[in-house]
Every structure is written in structure tokens, then in C-alpha cells.
């Protein structure tokens, strides 16, 4: 089986700040990480390869610093990685991104060997659209299923997947090639291994870079030019600074009294409290 797995290099979530003036993410100085939801996808791809043989190829459209992320995936055991990078790809929305990814998958198919499956994370932590798997599948005209947490091959060579929904677990069967996206946190990714790291450092060919002079995509379909959607506005919801008061109560009653007393001593808090009490007794939550 030849499996392609997607990777996005995203700002480390805890450290994302938003520029209060422009409303855009401040990426400068924020350390990036592999999109955490991509890791279960990598893990499933590796498990399939370990079971059925073949290879796993990681694919990312990103500026060059994402090599660090691809290195991480190779450390986990991905056989090789392709970085799709070019100035003209910058500023892509999900349509332009999926267009480039789909074409890269076609290229892998043509130049490296037949691709049977592409696996993606459910969504990314920095934009949460979850568009990419479906859009990529649409460009390729491949079947796709979301929220997968397990997959295996049937005897007649079809892909069988288990997907989890809020209150149901379903099994689907797909013809390959296919695209699946993996439910977030559903599979525990393996750690990187030292030997795989050494393999990355000693075999430069495990990481390939494809620029547009190689991909030859229509520049009107990629990057900013190929992106019909844009973020119109971002509103920063600032964290409300909270007072921290520590009180060591004697018992539960003492604690309750103290909480009530503190709330009532604050005008704003007591008003909110009264409102909430009225709401709950009147049955008309406000």
C-alpha cells in the first residue's frame, strides 16, 4: 500500500497571540508544531503500512520551516516526505491548498508509484475548517470518509473503516484510492525513534522539495490568487483578568458563606447573582 499523509505546520496553540490592531495571528516568534490532529492520521497510516507493507509518504504545503515538522514525522517512521513549497503558493485558502495537494498526490502517483490512500487529520488547530480532506477528494474524484478511528483491508481488497460520530459508530467500505480523515485524539501517536531520526539525517533523499517549476500548476489556481475566500475579520476575545483570592474554609458551610459574602460585597457580582437566581426560579434563564 502506498499511503500519503498530510501535515500542516501550525503555531503552537498555547502561544498564539492576536495582534489587537490588525486582528491577525502573530506568527512571528511563535514556535510552530505539527498540527496535533495530524498525528493520529500519521499513526494510522504507519499501522496500515506495518500490517500490509508498502510505504507512507508525508506531504505538506508550507514554507521551508515546516521541514522540522516533516522531520518529526520521519522520526515517527514515515518513509519519506515531500515539501511542496513556492512563493506562489503563499496565502492559499483551503481551495487553493487542496488544489495543490491533489495535484501533488497525482504527481506522486505518476512519478513514485500508485497511491492507494490519503490520510488527513480531522482539522487543524489554527483554522479548524476541516475542508482539506473533502476538497482534496473532490479534486481527485476519490471517495472520502470523515471521523475515522480505525481502518483495515477486506479480503477483496477494499478499505473498511470505522468512524465515530457523537452517538454512533459506523463501518463503511470504500473503493481505493480513497481519502479518510481521522477523528481527533482517537489514536495515540507513537513517539519518534532515534534510528528514524538518524535515517533522516544520514539519507538526504528521505525529504524531497517540490517547487512550482516542478509541479507546473497554473499560478491563477494557487496561493493568494487562487483563493476566493478570505478572513474578513477576526475579533480577539481577550482573557478577562481574574482576581485570585485564596480562603481556607473550616468546612463546607463556612466555604458557602464565604463565597456568598464575597459575591454580595461586589456590586457587579451581586447583580449577576440576583439575576441568575431569578432566572433559575422563574424558569426563564436569561
Amino acid at each position: 500500500m502506498r499511503i500519503v499523509v498530510g501535515m500542516k505546520w501550525v503555531p503552537g496553540t498555547q502561544s498564539v497571540r492576536i495582534d489587537p490592531k490588525t486582528g491577525t495571528l502573530i506568527r512571528e516568534g511563535v514556535p510552530s508544531i505539527v498540527n496535533p490532529h495530524d498525528l493520529p492520521a500519521v499513526e494510522l497510516a504507519l499501522r496500515l503500512r506495518d500490517k500490509y507493507g508498502g510505504e507512507v509518504i508525508a506531504l505538506s504545503m508550507s514554507p521551508p520551516p515546516a521541514i522540522k515538522g516533516l522531520e518529526y514525522l520521519i522520526g515517527m517512521g514515515v518513509d519519506r516526505a515531500i515539501l511542496l513549497t513556492d512563493r506562489v503558493y503563499a496565502g492559499a485558502d483551503t481551495l487553493a491548498t487542496s488544489y495543490a495537494l491533489a495535484n501533488a498526490i497525482r504527481k506522486i502517483d505518476a512519478e513514485i508509484g500508485k497511491v492507494d490512500l490519503a490520510v488527513f487529520g480531522q482539522e487543524t488547530t489554527d483554522s479548524s475548517t476541516a475542508h482539506i480532506p473533502a476538497q482534496t477528494a473532490s479534486w481527485l474524484n476519490w471517495p472520502y470518509v470523515y471521523y475515522v478511528r480505525d481502518a483495515w483491508l477486506t479480503e477483496d481488497g477494499k478499505l473498511r473503516v470505522e468512524r465515530i460520530l457523537e452517538n454512533a459508530i459506523e463501518e463503511w467500505e470504500l473503493d481505493m484510492p480513497a481519502i479518510i480523515s481521522i477523528a481527533m485524539k482517537s489514536i495515540k501517536p507513537r513517539p519518534v525513534s532515534l534510528l528514524n531520526k538518524i535515517r533522516f539525517k544520514t539519507n538526504p533523499s528521505t525529504l524531497i522539495t517540490w517547487t512550482n517549476s516542478y509541479m507546473n500548476l497554473d499560478v491563477r489556481c494557487v496561493g493568494l490568487k487562487g483563493s476566493p475566500t478570505f478572513v474578513a475579520k477576526t475579533v480577539d476575545v481577550p482573557e478577562v483578568p481574574r482576581k485570585k483570592i485564596v480562603y481556607k474554609p473550616k468546612d463546607g458551610e463556612d466555604a458557602a458563606r464565604w463565597i456568598l459574602k464575597s459575591l454580595l460585597s461586589d456590586e457587579k457580582a451581586s447583580r449577576a447573582l440576583l439575576k441568575a437566581l431569578r432566572g433559575s426560579s422563574g424558569g426563564e434563564g436569561s
Binding site: K68, D79, S193, L194, K197, S205
Partner: protein, 436 residues
């Protein structure tokens, strides 16, 4: 899996890419050894939280291009030492001129060293934690990380202060709070012009500032301030044993981060970084008394120990030399391995050259000479008391309404005010002077 073969045998495996490991790997790779450098941190210099002041000359012996290429923040031209008691402070300043030491943000500096090692040909594997140094018939034969085993003729342990690997190998006992201090640090962004105005320095100048006394709320330890290009590194270092005592006695009940906050907001210092934003903070262990922290030997069959893990760090209360000691010990280890290889092989006897080199070095000599300071630093009352008495003396001399005290009156006044006998003070001073 692809069929590419993965090398799993090296001449030298270096564990830990801090200053010590990076220097060792760099020098050996440059000499043509097949070197593996393993680091559990992710990015370059990730686990290297601390910056401060680094003495240049030992580093220049490894990287002669240091002054030109290294990410140096500012050369230290001014040394300040402050004694603090309550809101009062006594400060001494020395203005030097020579390029002896520089301030740096350690992550940047270590990243530079790591790149040097990699460019010289060392295989640098990040995000990989070594779980065990493997021994066969009493000789170290390589390292294990998860299920992966890599063999090496020599393993260099550069794992820093935590020393889990040496502990697992039964070479050192469990880390004891006696020898450990906790450093908590913040990097404050002020911008270079505000910084230079506030510290009264030129654009090509830098300040290294040691603060003794009450900044750690009476817990023995001290504070430090280092000026970077447009940020200021500040922090406190508390001796772990004393921190634990202070917590048990109720003297300290806040989180350690609040100690550095107390320092940042101290009325004597806070205007130096007025309006600054905190761009980084964190905590890290550090060792204090060097020799008593050292493992019994620095060489075992197939294994050398360098840097903090070897106890090679000098801390006199005024001078703090960890990074340069680490680098220099890495240099000596690399030289010893080279010596061994050219004298019949990497045998235990040949590798003992490393221990000889360390014993002959300025590091070992200084650690021996400064032993008394170790004892001094372990006396919890010494710091706060000395600071109080000296501040008391100056306060008697300068804070007056009508009558001017004679120096003798000021001195004895300060002693009585702070319950200090002349004898006790003398004994502190003698220990201090003997140590320094």
C-alpha cells in the same frame, strides 16, 4: 520500510546537546570521527532555557570565530554588585573595558553550537531521549532510546544537571537538594534605547549585575540581571535545600515564580525595566558546589562525563561559570578521545587522559581553591546578615538629620541594630575572603 540502511554504530555517541555535548561533538566530528549527538529537546537549543553571562576565552579555544559569529547579545563592560535589605540597597560598580565575557540568550548560543557540530559532520538527532547507557561486561557500549539501540566505541555523557542516566547506571546517587539550586528567570522586553538609558550604558556596552540579600525573601540565594540587546534577563537562584526549609517553616508559601516577581517589582530595581513586557519565563535546576557534586570518576570504561553532569561549574556568589566550563570540559574530552585513538585505541587506560586533563585545567584548580565558598553559601544566615549589616552601616552614615556619626559609631551601630557580634561578622568575612 524503505530499504535504506540506518547506521547504528558510531565512533562516539554524545548524549545531550547543551554546551558540553555540542562542543565535544563539534571537535570530534571536525577530526573525522563518526559522531552521533542526541538531544531530547525539539528545536535547536529548546531545552536551554537560560541566558546570562558567558566567559569567552574558553569558548574561543573551541571556536576561534566566536567573537565574529556567535549570537552575542552584549559584551559585559560593567559589573555591578548590590546588597539589598528591605527597600534599601548598596551597589558597587566596576567599569572594565576588555572583552572577557558577554551576555547571551542560551537557546540562541546553544543553537549556534549545535549548528557548528552538525556542519562539522556530526549526526544530530533531536527529539530523541536516551533512556539508558548500555553496558556490557562493565564497559559502556552504546545507548538505548525506546526500542532503538545505537552502539558506540565511546559514549560521552553530557546530560546536564539532572543526570538520570548516570543515576540509572549506578554511577551517581539520586540528586540531593544539598547540591542543587533552582533558577527562575524572566526575559523583559524594554527596547534597546530604554535599556541603555535606564542602565546608563552605551550601545556597545553591557551590564552583569549580581544581587545579594533580600530579593529572595531572606531565603539564601541571589538575584541576577543581565542586559541583552533589547531585553533584560532577570532571575533569582535559590538553593533547593533552603527553599525546602523555607517552605516547611512557612517562610515561603508562594510559588517560586513569585520570587522573581518580587525581584521584578523591587523598588530599587523596577524602574530599570519600567513598562517592559515579559517575553519569556521559566525555571531550571542548576548545581552549586562543584566538586561535591562530581561523580567519583569522570572516566569509566567506554564512558566520559562532561559539563554539569561532571560537576564542572563554579559558583562563587559573584562569578558564575557553567557554560564555559561545560564547553571546556567538552574540549578536553574530545582531545582525550583523539589522544586515545592515536595511542592504540579507545581503551579505559587511554581514555583516563581526560581525567588527567581536567585535573590539570584551570577548572579543577579553581574548584579546589573555591571550596570554602561552597561552605559559605550553604550557611543560610550569611547572605541576609551580611547584607543587613552593610546596608545598616551605610544607612547610619548617610541617613542623618543633625549629627554625623563617626565611621566607628556607624559600624557598631549597624552591628547592634542587626544583632551581629563582631566575632561572628569576622568569621563570615574570613570564610568569605579565604574563599574568594
Amino acid at each position: 520500510m524503505s530499504s535504506t540502511s540506518i547506521p547504528s554504530k558510531f565512533d562516539v555517541a554524545v548524549v545531550g546537546a547543551g554546551p558540553a555535548g555540542s562542543a565535544t561533538a563539534y571537535l570530534l566530528a571536525k577530526k573525522g570521527f563518526k559522531v552521533l549527538l542526541v538531544e531530547r529537546g525539539r528545536g535547536l537549543g529548546d531545552k536551554q532555557l537560560f541566558g546570562g553571562r558567558v566567559y569567552a576565552q574558553p569558548l574561543r579555544e573551541v571556536w576561534p570565530e566566536l567573537d565574529k559569529e556567535a549570537p552575542i547579545q552584549r559584551w559585559v563592560t560593567r559589573e555591578r554588585v548590590s546588597l539589598v535589605s528591605g527597600d534599601k540597597a548598596l551597589t558597587l560598580e566596576f567599569k572594565g573595558g576588555e572583552r572577557k565575557s558577554f551576555t547571551a540568550l542560551l537557546p540562541q548560543l546553544v543553537a549556534w553550537m549545535q549548528r557548528k557540530a552538525e556542519q562539522a559532520g556530526a549526526i544530530f538527532a533531536t527529539e530523541a531521549t536516551v533512556d539508558e547507557i548500555m553496558f556490557k561486561d562493565g564497559k559502556a557500549v552504546g545507548i538505548r532510546s525506546g526500542n532503538d539501540v545505537v552502539y558506540a566505541d565511546v559514549t560521552v555523557d553530557a546530560e546536564g544537571v539532572n543526570r538520570l542516566l548516570l543515576e540509572r547506571a549506578g554511577i551517581v546517587p539520586r540528586l540531593s537538594p544539598d547540591h542543587i539550586a533552582l533558577g527562575v528567570k524572566e526575559v523583559l522586553r524594554t527596547g534597546s534605547s530604554q535599556l541603555e538609558a535606564a542602565f546608563g550604558i552605551g550601545s556597545d556596552e553591557g551590564v552583569a549585575w549580581v544581587v545579594v540579600g533580600d530579593v529572595t525573601r531572606g531565603v539564601p540565594g541571589g538575584g541576577f540581571i543581565y542586559t541583552n540587546k533589547d531585553t533584560v534577563s532577570i532571575g533569582v537562584v535559590i538553593h533547593l535545600k533552603h527553599a525546602i526549609n523555607a517552605i516547611e517553616s512557612g517562610q515561603l508559601n508562594n510559588h517560586v515564580y513569585e520570587l522573581v516577581e518580587g525581584f521584578r517589582l523591587h523598588p530599587y530595581f523596577r524602574n530599570l525595566w519600567h513598562g517592559a513586557t515579559i517575553s519569556e519565563y521559566g525555571g531550571h535546576l542548576t548545581i552549586e558546589g562543584g566538586l561535591s557534586f562530581a561523580p567519583k570518576r569522570l572516566v569509566y570504561p567506554g564512558l566520559l562525563v562532561v559539563g554539569d553532569a561532571a560537576g564542572l561549574l563554579l559558583s562563587t556568589g559573584i562569578n558564575y561559570r557553567g557554560v564555559d566550563y561545560a564547553v571546556y570540559s567538552g574540549k578536553l574530552a574530545a582531545e582525550a578521545i583523539e589522544y586515545a585513538a592515536s595511542h592504540g585505541g579507545l581503551t579505559y587506560d587511554n581514555l583516563l587522559e581526560y581525567e588527567r586533563k581536567v585535573k590539570d585545567s584551570f577548572m579543577y584548580r579553581d574548584l579546589v581553591r573555591h571550596r570554602a565558598v561552597e561552605m559559605l553559601m550553604n550557611d543560610p544566615t550569611m547572605f541576609s546578615k551580611l547584607a543587613e549589616v552593610f546596608i545598616g552601616l551605610f544607612s547610619q552614615m548617610f541617613e542623618q538629620d543633625y549629627s554625623v556619626p563617626t565611621p566607628y559609631e556607624a559600624f557598631t551601630g549597624a552591628l547592634t541594630e542587626h544583632n551581629m557580634s563582631l566575632n561572628k561578622l569576622m568569621s563570615y568575612m574570613i570564610t568569605a575572603v579565604r574563599g574568594l
